[in-house]
Each structure stands twice: as C-alpha cells, then as structure tokens.
C-alpha cells in the first residue's frame, strides 16, 4: 500500500500516525458510520483541533474530519519551499473583485492540523476594546463576547500551546507569564527593535507557538527558519502535535483525506450527519451535533452547498450574512538592505513586534495594525522581488546576492467588514464534484488609508536604522475572517456567542469565519481561545439540557 499521505489515508484500522516517532503509530478509536456520534467536527485546525480534543476529554464521542493529509513532520517535511506547498489549500477557486485575494500559502491550509501546520506561530491576544469596536472605538460591530472571559481562555490556550513569549508584554491589560521564555532574537528582529527605539515606540519579542526549551516529545526550536513551510522537528506547537494527539488519546477518531461535501438535515430542520468523500467514494456519517471549522472559505462553501428546500439559501443563512463580510488582513511590507550581515532567514520569521498602532488611537483611520520582523526563504523572496519590483534575469540574480543583508518589516492590519466582500458558489465543480467558490474582495477607503500609514511608518523605521535600497511591497494580504459572523441576534449574524447556529440548533461554527471584526493581530490564538470556550459552553449547555445527545 502506498504511504503517500496525499493519496492514501493514514488514520485507518484503529491507528493513526505517531507524529513524534518515525514509522510509529498510536491507537485510535473508530466509530461506525451508522452510529450517530455525539459530535462531528469538520476541520482540524486552530478551531477544530481544540474542540475535538476538549470534547473527547469531556467524554463525548467525536470524529474529526479533514480534507487534508495526515503528515508525519519528521519524515514528510522537506527543507524545500516548493515541495512544502503540499501544506496549502490550492484547490481551484475563482477570485475576483477590485483586489482579488491570492489564496494558498498565507491564508489556508489543507492538512490534519489545518493552517497551523504552516502558520508563522504568532500567538497574539486581541486588544480588549476590539471586542466592542462599535461601542468603544466607533467602527464596525461589537462581539457578543466579553474580553475578560476571553482573557481567561487566552491563558488556557497559551498554556496548552506552550507559547514562548516575553516576561512582560508592553501592551494591553496584564496577562500571566508565558509558559516558555521568548526566543533569542535574530538579525532582522534586532533591526525592528532598533528602529522602534529610534521612533520612540515600544517593541517586544513576539509570543510564538514554538518551544524555547524541550516540552514532552517536542525538542526546543533549532532556528531552522522553515516554520512557514512546515516544522520538521516538532518544536512548532501546531494542532498536529498538540491537540490532535490529545484528542486521539481521549478517544476521538480522526479521518484524514476526508472531504465533507454536504451536511444532511431532516424534516425538523436538524442536522443528522455529514456526507464525505474518502478513498474514492462518498460516505455518510451519522451525528447528533455537527461543528463546522473549515475556515472562512470552506465553512460558507459547505453550508451554502448544504441548501435544502427548507434552507434554500444554505444552512444557517436566514440572516443572509453567510459568506458575507469576508475579511483578510493587510500584509504589506517594506524592505531594505543593511551594510551588516543580517541572515534574516535564521529562526522563526517574526521574532519581534511593535503593536504601537494597535493601542494608539490618534490616527485618521479605524482599526489597528502591528508590524513584525521578516525572514522570507529564498524562493518566496525572489518571487516578491520579481513581482513587486519587476526584476528578472541578471537584475534579479544580482538582487538575490543581497539576500543575507536584507531586512524587512511586515504589517498585519485590520481590514473592516463589508457585505460586498464575500464567498459564493460558482458553477464550476472541483475534483470531488462539488461547486467551487467565488471569492470577491475589494479594499475600502479605510483599508487603503491604513495601508499607506503603515507603509510610511515601516519605511521610517528602516530609514532610521540606516537601511538602503528601501522599497515597498504593496499588494500582499493574509489570514481570513468573517463569512459566518457571530452576533447578538438571528437577524444580523449566523451564530450566537456560543458559536451555535441561530437556525439549526445542532449545528455549530467554530473557526475564523465567526469573527465580526478581524483586529490588527494574527487570528489563530483567538480562534483557539474561542474553541476552548465553545467546548466548555457545550458541556454546560448539555448539563442544562439545552443540547440533545
């Protein structure tokens, strides 16, 4: 039998890969398709992973589905950027709008563990006011969640992921000490710090989900620098090496290479299970509760594709908000060349950060942004240089000779929600015979103002430390949010504060798509914190008899 994880499922026959040992397996409980399990979770990333683990640990029967492969990092991950594009969700999608989103590397993953297998490990908390951005800051909408409660779940998420962060974080309310100490900062990160000091801004080591000392079977980070194309040492605390092993130990089943195409609902309007494609054919798994955690493109796609006569516009879409308010984050950068050797590819790419403009409100735009040090690998860098500066041939080759002297600052900025930015279904079908998505996106004036502000600030930072040959990369975006907004009422949102659909009481959505606003920091830790909260809420609601199992 082939052991190519992209072609043959690995979680089969009562066992799943032991990600910590080459060729080894761990036992896995398996459920019959005819048995209505308590929970089916679709997606195993930052939202699905913690839910599968926590619900299984609470004693529920849980199956986690993922369309992607079950990788063994120690064996499958090459030090090769091209080969590692196997981690991205690169299935066909149509993109349009004024600013079409480039899909793949920095916004969607297709693997057990989801995008966390290749995320940059940046684990930041929201600014508390963002949970009430309408009331406190005057833009967009409020969240139905209280930041103080979120603060407790952030604590838990940081402990579970052994986040390595600074002793004291300069922004926001007090938080407990990070479980692991911050990593040693590298060349590019040091230039961010010097630039921030020259500007009079605070800077900090970035809290990262990669361990700075051994943890269980994870060795400490060796600063290989391939974090965003898959960590081959398991230092990165992705879902694949944290919550998923916990889930298996607690009796959950994982089905890899299992693409869920439709959620079945009965005459009473309740979900009864999921149709999924695995090993060349369609199957049906019965379930009492269905949780969708496929991120902001695949989640609305699945729900839109599950339309019935009773739910003609898709499941959980009475409000008409499903698929709308898609948000990305602005991810523009400024690069320059230092006289000194920098070697920016060494170590995790975002070792230092300044959140100055997330917490400073004297500005002429809504929302906030941070910027972090950069360390793109050579292929990614050559692609950026050739596309943004139009260099090719000898000129590009010459520019690449400066690789070890490059520095860069990259923003993560909050784009505001708009009903016009959305995900819909196209006529065209994919390899499973499912309609592919059309992703429509355009920047608004506020987004553009913020981007120009950030580019100016980052450029000033580089100029102050003496960088030369400075240029701006103006077209990049990353991360996804929105499309299944959480809110206060069934009329203006898709799910409630517990991530439970207003329309289908045994259908839940728990991933970045429930974000009403996206904030100016990377979203993964917030997704995980919400998933941990949702698991607790499910248990409480079950105990109160408000969930039928």
């Amino acid at each position: 039998m082939s052991d190519n994880p992209l072609h043959t499922p690995r979680a089969l026959n009562g066992r799943a890969p032991d990600v910590f040992r080459k060729g080894a397996w761990v036992p896995m409980r398996e459920y019959s398709q005819n048995e209505a399990v308590d929970f089916v979770v679709i997606g195993t990333g930052a939202g699905g992973g913690p839910l599968i683990a926590r619900l299984a640990e609470m004693g529920y029967s849980v199956i986690g589905f993922d369309a992607g492969a079950y990788f063994r990092p120690l064996e499958d991950f090459a030090s090769d950027e091209t080969s590692q594009s196997q981690l991205y969700w690169t299935d066909e999608r149509l993109i349009d709008g004024a600013n079409p989103i480039k899909m793949g590397s920095n916004n969607s993953g297709k693997a057990v563990g989801g995008s966390t297998v290749h995320f940059a490990m940046v684990s930041l908390r929201f600014r508390p006011e963002w949970f009430q951005s309408r009331t406190k800051l005057g833009y967009a909408v409020d969240w139905p969640l209280d930041w103080r409660e979120m603060w407790r779940y952030y604590d838990k998420a940081e402990r579970d992921l052994a986040i390595a962060g600074p002793i004291s974080y300069p922004w926001g309310p007090k938080r407990p000490r990070y479980p692991y100490r911050a990593h040693e900062i590298g060349g590019a990160a040091e230039w961010l710090a010097r630039g921030a000091e020259a500007m009079g801004y605070q800077w900090s080591e970035t809290p990262l989900a990669t361990v700075s000392a051994p943890r269980g079977d994870s060795p400490s980070c060796v600063y290989r620098g391939f974090c965003r194309v898959g960590c081959s040492t398991n230092a990165k605390q992705s879902q694949l090496v944290t919550y998923i092993p916990r889930a298996l130990k607690a009796g959950a089943e994982i089905r890899d290479l299992a693409m869920v195409g439709r959620i079945e609902t009965n005459a009473q309007g309740l979900a009864t299970g999921v149709h999924y494609h695995r090993e060349g054919q369609w199957h049906f798994q019965r379930a009492k509760q269905v949780i969708v955690a496929g991120y902001a493109i695949e989640t609305p796609r699945l729900l839109l594709n599950s339309a019935t006569d009773r739910f003609p516009d898709g499941l959980a879409n009475r409000s008409g908000y499903l698929g709308r308010n898609l948000m990305v984050q602005s991810n523009q950068a400024v690069y320059g060349r230092m006289k000194e050797m920098v070697r920016w590819n060494k170590g995790p790419p975002s070792l230092t950060i300044t959140e100055h403009w997330n917490y400073e409100d004297k500005k002429d735009f809504f929302g906030g942004y941070c910027w972090m040090a950069q360390g793109p690998l050579p292929l990614e860098w050559s692609a950026a240089v050739s596309s943004s500066r139009g260099l090719w041939g000898e000129a590009l080759r010459q520019k690449m000779m400066d690789y070890n002297h490059q520095v860069g600052l990259k923003m993560v900025g909050e784009m505001l929600p708009s009903m016009e930015n959305r995900v819909t279904l196209a006529e065209e079908k994919d390899q499973y015979g499912l309609p592919i998505t059309r992703i429509t996106y355009g920047w608004q004036d506020n987004d553009k103002t913020m981007i120009q502000h950030a580019l100016g600030e980052m450029q000033r930072s580089l100029e102050l430390v003496g960088a030369q040959d400075i240029w701006r990369q103006e077209n990049d975006t990353n991360h996804l949010a929105g499309t299944a907004r959480m809110g206060f009422s069934a009329e203006s949102s898709v799910v409630d504060a517990d991530c439970r659909s207003w329309d289908v009481p045994n259908l839940w959505i728990c991933d970045g798509s429930i974000f009403p606003t996206t904030g100016g920091v990377n979203p993964s830790l917030t997704i995980t914190a919400i998933a941990l909260r949702t698991a607790d809420r499910i248990q409480t609601l079950h105990r109160q008899g408000k969930i039928t199992l």
Binding site: Y180, R181, I185, S212, P214, D217, S220, A235
Partner: protein
Amino acid sequence: MARYKGPRGAAGWALGLTGALTAACFAAATRGGRMARHPATPPRASEPPPSPEKATLAARRLNRSAGTLAASVLFDSAVEHYRGDFENRAMYTPIVTSALALAVSAHGTFDKSPAAHKIRDGVYLLTGVVGLIGTGFHVWNVVQKPGRFIWQNLFYGAPLGAPMAIGLSGLLGFFSERVRDTPIGQTPRLFGLPAGRVIGAVSGAGMVGTTAEAGLLHFRGSFHDPFMALPVTMPPAAAAALTNASLGAARTDRRLTRWWLRATAIMGVSGTVFHAIGVGRDMDGWRNIQQNLLNGPPIPAPPAFTGLALAGLAALDLMEDDSDV
C-alpha cells in the same frame, strides 16, 4: 530524541528527598550556630600549636577547588566562544588563562611544599584579573544590544556572571598560596583575618553568584524539568551553612555543613549528566552533536558548583583546625 519526560519513580522520590533535605539545611542554617554538633571551644591554653602540615593540606585542597573551577571554565568558555565564532580575539583569553590555571592547580594539588610558588601565584593573579576584565567585556556586549539590560539580553547576550567563575578560580588559587605561606607556629590568615573564615565567606558568595547564573539560565529554560530546581536550591543552602560557619565559633565540628557541601559537590558533577540528557533531548540528540553541544545545556558548566563546594570544605578544615580568635 530521548523520550525522557521528567522524573518518574525512584528519580522522582530522590528529587523529593533532596528537596526536603535542602529545606532542612536551610532551616538549620538560618537557626544560626546551632548547626554545630560540638559547639564547645577548647580553652586556648590547651590548644595545640598550629600545624604547617595542615595548612599545606588545606592549601592543596584549595588548589584542587581552583582547578575544578578552571576546568569547568576551560571547557565551557571553549564551547561558548567557539559558538560565538571567536568574533573578538579577546575571546581566546579565558581559554588560555583557564588552561594555565588548571595546570598550576594540578601542580599545586600534588605539591607538598609549605611555600608559595611564584609561577602559580602569578598565574592565579592573572586569572583573577582576567575574570574582572571578562566581566567588563560581557557587560559591554549586553549594553550594545537593543534594550540593554532586558531579559532578552540577560538570557542570550554574553552571560554577565560567567567570567567571574574564572575570577573565583584565580582568587581561590591566590588564597591557596597565602595559606601555604603561613609561617610556622601561626594560624593561616588572609588580609589579617582568619583564612578559613575568609575563604568560607568567599566560597559562599561565589555559590550565591553561580546560583544566580544557573537560576537565570534555568528560568530561560522555563524549569521544564523539576531537576533544574536543584542548582538553585542546594547551593544557596550550602552557602547559608558556610556563611553561618564563617561567622560562628571556630574549632567546631560542623558535620551537617560538611555533608551538605559534599552533596553540593556531587550535585555539581552530576549536573553534567543532566545536561548531557538535555543535549539528548534536542533535535536528533547526540547524533546531531555538532549543533546540540553548542545550543543545548552547557555540559561543562555545572562543576563550577563542585569547585566552590570543595573550597568550602577546605575552609571548614581551616576553621576546624585552628582557633583563630
């Protein structure tokens, strides 16, 4: 990669017992002079004259402790400065001086002559000065970094406390030569003070400083293994007991202090084993020795505690040998 997951079974019990003993030692030390088993000091009239053989023996023991420290520094600074690519030529200095200190300490340890040796003396003096200058270099390195004296730079910049290990080696060696030089019929003295008490106090202070460094670096490692707590608990207890002895009555049989110093000496040596296990836990463990030896826990560092504990034992000898009032 080793599958070590922290102390289990017997190892866990041993750690618990050591912790309990550490607490007991601390409690006893803070209770003052009552740690002495036989606190009675004989009347001066009946005291035997100071013995030059005993002074020489104590001096040789001090040579041994200075040599232990020098060996630790030799290998540790070699590994760490190689890791730093000898970016500054001055980074060769501690390797040369600690090698010299190690050589003269070995010579002194086997030398039964009751007089100081000029070359040994010179090397020890040089070593002590190099320790001070090295501290200056390390401070300079830290203040060059953005943020200066912030945790990031204390964790990952040049370690501020490390050069004083070689400084202490030189100082203890220098003391050793003074003790050896004690005129017949006199008790060993340093700067006009009883030698045992001075060396006890200096060793205790050295242990506190070394503990601070181990504490800082183990904190950097998030104390991920409970055994990492030993070098920040046992040596301070030893230092407390030693200081207690240095300030207490002379000619006292301090059995508990003695045993505690021995235990600390053993802990220092066994630290190399723990650090070797730590190297094994890093990616690809000992197969990837080229990387992990440099970036894993420093294997040669822990015996610095052994060197200081041995100096403490030599100081106890001096204090117990002679009444110095």
